[in-house]
Each structure stands twice: as structure tokens, then as C-alpha cells.
Symmetry: C2
């Protein structure tokens, strides 16, 4: 491509409203422009990247045996009513009426449409398993679109849906998709992790998110130092500390702790580590027939955080988890939130594994302004329900049994999910089994945020000068930069020759052929745009039959003999 | 592709609500399924065709120097208000409010969005000309979607927009697009014509539609028998008949024609050819300051039809053209519609060129129940305004000066249009010229209905057995059909071998490998799906080391030696 015929829309200044690095660089390098909040136009440079990502996704999905389809963006409300989501889905589902006042929505996802299609098209177990995907525009009316295309309203997604006779077949395809996603993100050149994820309220049996590791990520991912184990922090199991609980060595004492409420205040006041104290958190139980919710106590070590998702799974705890109102606590338990403790508490108490492993610990005395020290389980109070209800922290033993936990931030770019029969049951999607009986299909779904992959690749690959594209998705592989081309016929002729040679050899070359463009500007632009390889052609080098080569990732430049350039490129450009 | 891993969704019966052949065959062959009125899902087979069309369009657009971008489907109302179309556009523009009650629409076209982008990105004449395109989902809320994807609400379109300093530059790009469209439709393998089209109310200087010729087309296209000339019938110029007008040879007579009103009745009654009579049509003039519209008479030969679009262009005639109410005609002209004529008429009279060439003709006498015969221009009445206001008919001399007119039906699949400054002026899209002055850009736009191309290819290529795809867009090039594969190891082995060989040689092969599929069904399916080449492998043939080959377009089958098959395919499959 000749720069003179290509829209290079680089900006000198970073737009003030862009917070995320990828958002700033996508604007500055001229990849995208905002049309309205959460709506972006892909400029020619950006679209080249998007298409390369899309093609890798398509090739690997095809290789996996999935079949590509294309479903409409606009979907009729009636299918969403059938699945129950017309009511459940919040305002992110943009609802519209057509000219005849029939209700439709802009598809944020396509479970309903594909389930409707497949219940009509597939009739027999012989046609299963089958996996269908599309790469298509989605719309989610985010309340606060941000970070550019990272959290846009309109975006490009690859979504796939698989159909099965049973769970074993689903598991097989799920495993194939897991591998396919690893292939996709590896080919793109991302540092990523498949991460065990929460199955949420859908209650499917298994789910993995694929996270690109980047400091700017919105999610905390827990890894093992010594294995492939990775899970969303919220989901990673916190094991019990190794060994037996230490024996009691102190007597229990009540201590006046006037004005000391937080763990920090109390532990400082008592001259104890926070890890030698416990927090007692009071949450609401499930409503009984009369709508009453009893109080339940959750006890975690003072230096640990309660994990809502784990807490919700305790039988009897209301979901979503909610803390009890302070007034009710005071009234029923006789003390304020900062002075609670498990000793003598007349409600159900659930104790985290680490808290249950303590001896001689401190806790609130259930009397305002007082705490207990030297408390010991099974001497001063019973220890009935020991559970895992805290977030893992760095240094915890990994639940896989190997190594310890490390935590990094990640950007979710993919998600695979065992849906089970949630949609097929609601929408009556069945096929005939071997005995001629109707059997509800089992489903999986598999998403990749194609446009988001572009942003996450930048979050992981940039420096002060701009983007550093992974080779596989770079908009151009090589920038060909002439020095004073309009003054030197030799430079112009050599550039034309190299442009022809490299293009003919199959490389994506951006030839900076704009007359009178300043060298400094051209070099800065090629760096900002992140083109992985750069060849500069000038009179001085040509006198010795050399050109200058620099890789975007490296600081060093090297002189390459002109007649060696193609071989050099073949060796260094994938 | 193995049929056992591919959704073959053929139907035996043609769905009763499908009228158009392409609609019927797209459903029957399993290319699409309806989701809701005017909304279709592309099944794997159909999507393969759509993608092939899309790729040809993209390659040729890239080759033309146009740059691909991708704009959002959802567009903010404010840009449409700026262009004035928020008010002008009818209910085909689907308007929506987002969750914050901001008004948006689903884009039926992207003039506003691209003009907004370019006015911000391009600053100097040095950056022009530039041509940007996208291949993207469009939505038009048709009041009555029909003919399947031919007139769907959601569809795939390639739209391009070019920007220029002046008309000459626009004309250059327009010519390049004209050639590019010819390349695209030729590569796809369509019988098409670029057709001069009406520029409508936009009033641009030039416009061509690209029509695929098919009996089912909605438009009448006029061609020259001897040249490339082609125009929408409504736009084709009707020349004056050759030679001088014949001399008068009869006297004018008033004849009683009781109860004879239509041209057919009158000419039969008078024993004249319809072409020896004239019709006098009364239309309304433009409203004056007081809102009054005077009457204007339009005279065409009895066997010709008035052309509204041409009539509207007569100075003084109201647009859109409207016939005068009968009561007013009777009152002001003294006779009913069936008895009018130009003789003695005291209003402006415009006479079509062919009517003006008549001698001794008949017309109404402006007296109910009477006609005049032997009427001659410039003897019995003046001949002031001779104009072209009729539709051309078969046999007319072609306006290009070569050959005569033929008329066929066409399906519009492309449209190129010189927009001029309609949008750039309204939206203030200007760049600096060589003298540093702001100059409003001149624009062109260029559309192809990508999904419609698929349907139109079918309308032009089918027989009783189904679709006959042009090679370039066939979903598969070759169908490989085994006879009793599950019973014959030799057939199974040979098919696997041929499948590997042909696939490795780069051909798109559909291997009908489903166990126990009946031969008749497989053959019918490959015909219905329109696969251009078919190879049948059976035990009987293999005994002589042959397979059976049949081209979809031909009735004949031929035996091909197995070891010659690849060479044969290379010769016969493009």
C-alpha cells in the first residue's frame, strides 16, 4: 500500500477523554474514530487489524469443525419472550418497535435465534453434535461505554453455539473449543490464560474465560506459580492452611476497646497482627414463607476478604448476598458491627477455613466497646460449619496442589460456557433419539470479542512511542521509508524496486511515498502505528548499497546490503 | 467439506409463501431461513455464496484504489438532522431511542456518517480525491418486505463514498467505479447491463444502475440492438421519427363518436390505427403565489405512453406530476377526458415528438361525443412546444444513433451516483484549496446490494431441478457422490482418495459421505444446491477404473478414467 493512497490519520496529542492506553493509541494511531458514545468507525488502518483477527478466528473455528452462519442483528421479541429473557434482560437490551409497531431488539447475543433455527432444522440424533458460529455485529446498550472499543455499545463478536444429545458430547465439543481458543490467541500472539470462571445464575456445569494479561485489566486472575492452574480470583478455592490447628496457649479475656471498630484499629490497639483476629460479618438468609430473612454470621480472618460468590453458595444464605441492616444487627445481636464476634452468638455461624485454623485469636465481644482475646475454637465456642468463603491472596497454596497463588490483572476476550438445557428446555428444542423419542438437546456457547481482541493486544504491546503489533495482526508488516525521495531519483527508484519486490514476495508493505513528508514525522508515524519492521532508504546508505533496518520492538538499527534485504526479511518477518 | 459435518437443509416442497424463484430456491436449497418478516439467517451453504460475492467485491474495490472502512450500524439522529434527512426520510428509516432517550436510527445508508468522518479527517486538497467503502449490514424498514432477500429489511451492502475538489475529479472516479462494477459483475458471471438512470430529486448530474437481466426483474430496461446503450425505460430518450412530417392530404372533419372514449374504442370506430390518433392528457401546473395550479395539456400518440419523469421536467409542470381532477377539466375545457384534443385548446400545450410528426391524425373535439379527423399541425392548430414526454417502445430508433430499441426486465444490483455537493454543503464538509481557501467537497456514492446479488444470480441461472451457480460464486465447485459407500470398501477408499486429491489441488469439494444416504436423494440435492460439477463413484465404474462426470448445466454424463480425473477437472473447472 502506498501511503499517498491510504488514510494515515495519526494525531499528535492524545485525546483528553481517553483513559485506557489502547483507547488513546487507537485514536492517536488512526485506527478508529468515535461516532457517538460507544459507537466507533474503523478507519482503514484499524480495519486491517480487525480483519486479520477475524480471519484467524474464522480459520480456527472452521478447522474445529464448526459451521459458519450469519444471523440478523435485529431480532423479534417473541423469541426472547419464549426464553424468558425479554423480562429478565436489563436496559442493555435495546428494544425497538418497527413501523408496524412489532417489538424487536438489537441482538446482544444470539441464543434465542440459534435455538429457534436449530429446533426447526435438526430432527435426529444423527445430526448431532453440531456447532454453529458467526462473526457479527452485536449491540449492548452499556450505561457507561468506556475505554474505546474495549467496552463499546456496538462491537464485533464471534459467537458459537453447539448442540448435543448429552453432557458427554457437550464436554467433548467444549474441550475442542478450549483448544481452539488457545490456538486462536496463540496465533494472534497474545499472552493469555484460560481461567476457570463462575457459571453465575445460569448454573451450567463449567465455564472458562480467556484473559489477556495486562495491568489495565478489569479482572483479577489467580495463577499457580508451578502449574497451568488459573481462575478468576472470585472463583479460586482457598485451601485450609496446612497442618493441624495450633493448640490453645492463652486464656480468653474481655478487653475494653473504646472507639476501636475496624480490624486495623483493633489489631493495632491490641498489638496483634490482623491475621490473628477474625471479622464477623452478618448477612441475610433466604426468605421463609412469610418473607422473613434470618441473620447468618460469616467469620473470616482479619486480613482476608469475604467472597460474595462463595458465600452465596452456602445453603440458607440469600442470593445475591446482602449484608444485614445495621439497625437489625444492633437490635437482635446487642452490639454494633465493629464489636461482633462468634462467641456466644445465637445464630448460624459459618467459619472460613483459615479462620477455623486459628488459635488464641481476637474478636468482638458482642458488646459495644469490647473485644475478646485468646479465643480458641472448641474450648470457648463450638466450630460447626467450616467453609471456603474468602478470596485467595498471593502466597496461598494453589488449589491444584502445586505451587502458590500469584495474582495478575486480565482482560476477558473469550468465554466458553456449558449452557446445559437452559434454552433448549425453555424453547422446546428437541430431536428424536435412537429409540424414536423426543430428547431435549444440551447446549454450549462460545464467544470471542473480536474487536476487543484488538484493544487488548495493544494493552499488552506498547511503549512510549506507540503500538507494537504482534506480527500476525499488524496492519502492515513492513514500513518502507524513503529519505528525501522528492529530491533523490536514486532513492525513489530503489524504493519503487523494493516495494515491488517485497509486495510480490507476499508481504504487506506500507510505502511512505508521500512527497515532501518529513523523515521525522514518517518515522514517528510508523512507530505510533506499530508496524513491526522498518526499512529506511537514503542516499547515504545507497552509496554503500545498504538500507537501514529496525524492528519495532528493538532499539538497535542495522545496515543491510540491498541485495540481501529480501533474504533478511524472509528470515525475520513471519 | 464432508456432508456428514455440514448442514444440508434442502426441502422437498417449495414454501407456499415464496413467490420469486430465487426466494423459493434459496429456501429449498437450504441457503437461508426466515427469522421474521424481511429478516433472514444465512445457513452455511448460503453464507459460502455470500462470502464469495463479498470477496470479489472487496478485491475489485481494493484494486480500484478505494479504502475499506467500517462504520456503525447504529447512527445518531443529529447527523441526519444536519443533512435534513431526519425529517425527509420516510418510515423506512427505523428510529430508536437508546437507554438515555437519545435518538438514533439503524443505518439504511451512510452518507451522513462518512461526510462527518471526512470533514474531520481531511483538511487539504492534497488528500483528495479519496474513495472509502464498507461491506456492512444495512436496515430499511420496508413496508412490505418480499421476494426473500431480494427486498429484505436487513441486508448486506457495499457502499462507497468519494470526495473531490471538483466535478472533473468526481467524473474520473465515477468512471473508475463504472469499470470496477463491470469487472465485479463480470467476474461473478452475471449477464448484466449498466443502465443510465434517473438522478431523481437529488439532481446530481449523472447516475447509472447496474441491472442483472432476468424475466422476474422489477425494472424495464431499454437497450440498443447494435450498441452498448442501455437506459431505464423511464429515462431513455424517444427520438423524433426520421424524415420530414408528411404533408396534409385530408380536410379536417368533426365526427360524432357517441360513447367512444378510449383510444382503442375511438380508433376502432374511426377505422384508424391507434398510431394515427393522439391522446391529450391534462396535468396540473406548478402552484402560483396563491396556490393556484393552472391546467397544462400533454399530447402523445395514441399508441404511446406518457412518461411521468420526463413530463415533470417540463418547466411549469408540477412535480410530482399529477393529472387534473375530472370535474375541473369538464368545467374549464368544456369536455370530458375521453373527448379532449389540442385543436382550439386555450391552455399551454406540449406535444411529444412522435405526435408532432403526424399528419391527418384524429383527436377529441373538446365536445363530448365528438372527435376530429384529418387534423394537421400548423394548418388546423399551432405547434409550439415539441418535447420528449413518452416512454420508448420496442423498435424505436436507439437514442445513441445505432440500432433500434429492445426492452428487457432487470434487477437492480448496483447504483453509482454523482451526489455533487448535496451532503457536503449541508454538513459543511470543506478542505483548503491550493490558495488556502475553504472549498466545499464534491461527492459521489456507489452501492452494491451484496446479498441481492446472490438472489439475482439465481433468477438468471436455474432450471426445474434447482439452482445453477455461476462458477465464481458456487458454494462448492465439485460434488463428490459415492454409490453405496457403506457397502463398498472400494468406493469408500476411492472417494477418500479423490476427496484428498481434489481438496489438495485447491478445489471446494462437497463429499456426500453420509452413510446410507440414498443415491437419488444425493443427486437431487447436488442439483438443487446448484453445484457446477459432479463426480459419481460406484463399483461398476471402478471395475473399468472410471467415474461418472456431469456438469450441472449439461444433460450429458461422461465416463472419465480415474487417473485422468484431476487433469479433466483442471481443464473444466475454473
Amino acid at each position: 500500500m502506498r501511503a499517498s493512497r491510504f488514510l494515515i490519520a495519526t494525531l499528535k496529542e492524545s485525546p483528553s477523554d481517553a483513559v485506557a492506553v489502547s483507547h488513546q493509541l487507537m485514536l492517536r494511531a488512526g485506527l478508529i474514530r468515535q461516532l457517538a458514545s460507544g459507537l466507533y468507525t474503523w478507519l482503514p488502518l484499524g480495519l486491517r487489524v480487525l480483519r486479520k483477527v477475524e480471519n484467524i478466528v474464522r480459520e480456527e473455528m472452521d478447522r474445529s469443525g464448526a459451521q459458519e452462519v450469519l444471523m440478523p442483528v435485529v431480532q423479534p421479541a417473541e423469541l426472547w419472550e419464549e426464553s424468558g429473557r425479554w423480562e429478565q434482560y436489563g436496559p442493555e437490551l435495546l428494544r425497538i418497535d418497527d413501523r408496524h409497531n412489532n417489538p424487536f431488539c438489537l441482538g446482544p447475543t444470539h441464543e434465542e435465534v440459534i435455538t429457534d433455527l436449530i429446533r426447526n432444522e435438526l430432527k435426529s440424533y444423527k445430526q448431532l453434535p453440531a456447532n454453529f458460529y458467526q462473526i457479527q455485529t452485536k449491540f449492548r446498550d452499556e450505561v457507561r461505554p468506556r475505554f474505546g472499543i474495549m467496552r463499546a455499545r456496538e462491537f464485533l463478536m464471534k459467537d458459537a453455539y453447539s448442540f448435543h444429545m448429552d453432557q458427554d458430547s457437550l464436554q467433548d465439543t467444549y474441550d475442542v473449543m478450549h483448544e481452539t481458543y488457545c490456538n486462536i490467541f496463540s496465533r494472534i500472539g497474545l499472552n493469555f490464560r484460560p481461567v476457570l470462571a463462575d457459571t453465575g445464575s445460569i448454573g451450567g456445569s463449567s465455564s472458562h474465560e480467556f484473559h489477556v494479561l495486562a495491568d489495565s485489566g478489569e479482572d483479577d486472575i489467580a495463577f499457580s506459580t508451578d502449574s497451568d492452574f488459573a481462575a478468576n480470583v472470585e472463583l479460586a478455592e482457598a485451601l485450609a492452611p496446612a497442618g493441624e490447628r495450633p493448640a490453645a496457649s492463652q486464656d480468653m479475656h474481655e478487653v475494653a476497646t473504646p472507639g476501636q471498630h475496624t480490624i486495623e484499629e483493633v489489631s493495632q490497639f491490641l498489638k496483634l497482627e490482623a491475621s490473628q483476629t477474625v471479622k464477623t460479618l452478618i448477612v441475610l438468609g433466604e426468605a421463609d414463607e412469610d418473607g422473613n430473612q434470618k441473620l447468618i454470621a460469616l467469620v473470616v480472618r482479619g486480613d482476608h476478604e469475604l467472597n460474595d460468590i462463595k458465600a452465596e453458595k452456602i445453603p440458607g444464605v440469600a442470593a445475591p448476598m446482602a449484608f444485614a441492616p445495621e439497625g437489625r444487627i444492633k437490635e437482635e445481636l446487642g452490639a454494633g458491627v465493629g464489636s461482633l464476634g462468634p462467641v456466644g452468638l445465637d445464630i448460624d455461624v459459618f467459619v472460613d477455613r483459615s479462620a477455623a485454623h486459628l488459635a488464641d485469636f481476637a474478636c468482638g465481644a458482642n458488646k459495644d466497646g469490647f473485644h475478646l482475646t485468646g479465643v480458641n475454637w472448641e474450648r470457648d465456642l463450638p466450630l460447626a460449619n467450616v467453609v471456603d468463603i474468602r478470596n485467595v491472596v498471593v502466597g496461598d497454596p494453589s488449589p491444584c496442589g502445586q505451587g502458590t497463588i500469584e495474582i495478575k490483572r486480565g482482560i476477558e476476550v473469550g468465554h466458553i460456557f456449558q449452557l446445559g438445557q437452559k434454552y433448549s428446555e425453555a424453547m422446546n428444542a428437541a430431536v428424536l433419539d435412537e429409540n424414536g423419542k423426543q430428547r431435549t438437546m444440551t447446549m454450549g456457547c462460545y464467544g470471542i470479542g473480536v474487536s476487543r481482541v484488538v484493544a487488548s493486544a495493544i494493552e499488552q504491546n506498547f511503549d512510549d512511542n506507540g503500538i507494537i503489533w504482534p506480527e500476525a495482526i499488524a496492519p502492515f508488516q513492513i514500513a518502507l521509508v524513503p529519505i528525501n525521495m522528492h529530491k533523490s531519483e536514486a532513492v525513489a527508484a530503489k524504493c519503487e524496486e523494493l516495494y515491488s519486490t517485497l509486495t510480490a514476495a507476499g508481504y504487506d508493505v506500507l510505502f511512505m511515498d508521500e512527497e515532501k513528508a518529513r523523515l521525522g514525522v514518517m518515522l514517528a508515524n510508523t512507530e505510533l502505528m506499530g508496524i513491526p519492521h522498518r526499512v529506511v532508504v537514503g542516499d547515504r546508505g545507497l552509496e554503500n548499497n545498504t538500507v537501514e533496518y529496525k524492528a519495532r520492538r528493538d532499539a538497535d538499527k542495522q545496515e543491510i546490503a540491498v541485495d540481501q534485504l529480501l533474504d533478511f526479511i524472509k528470515e525475520n518477518v513471519k
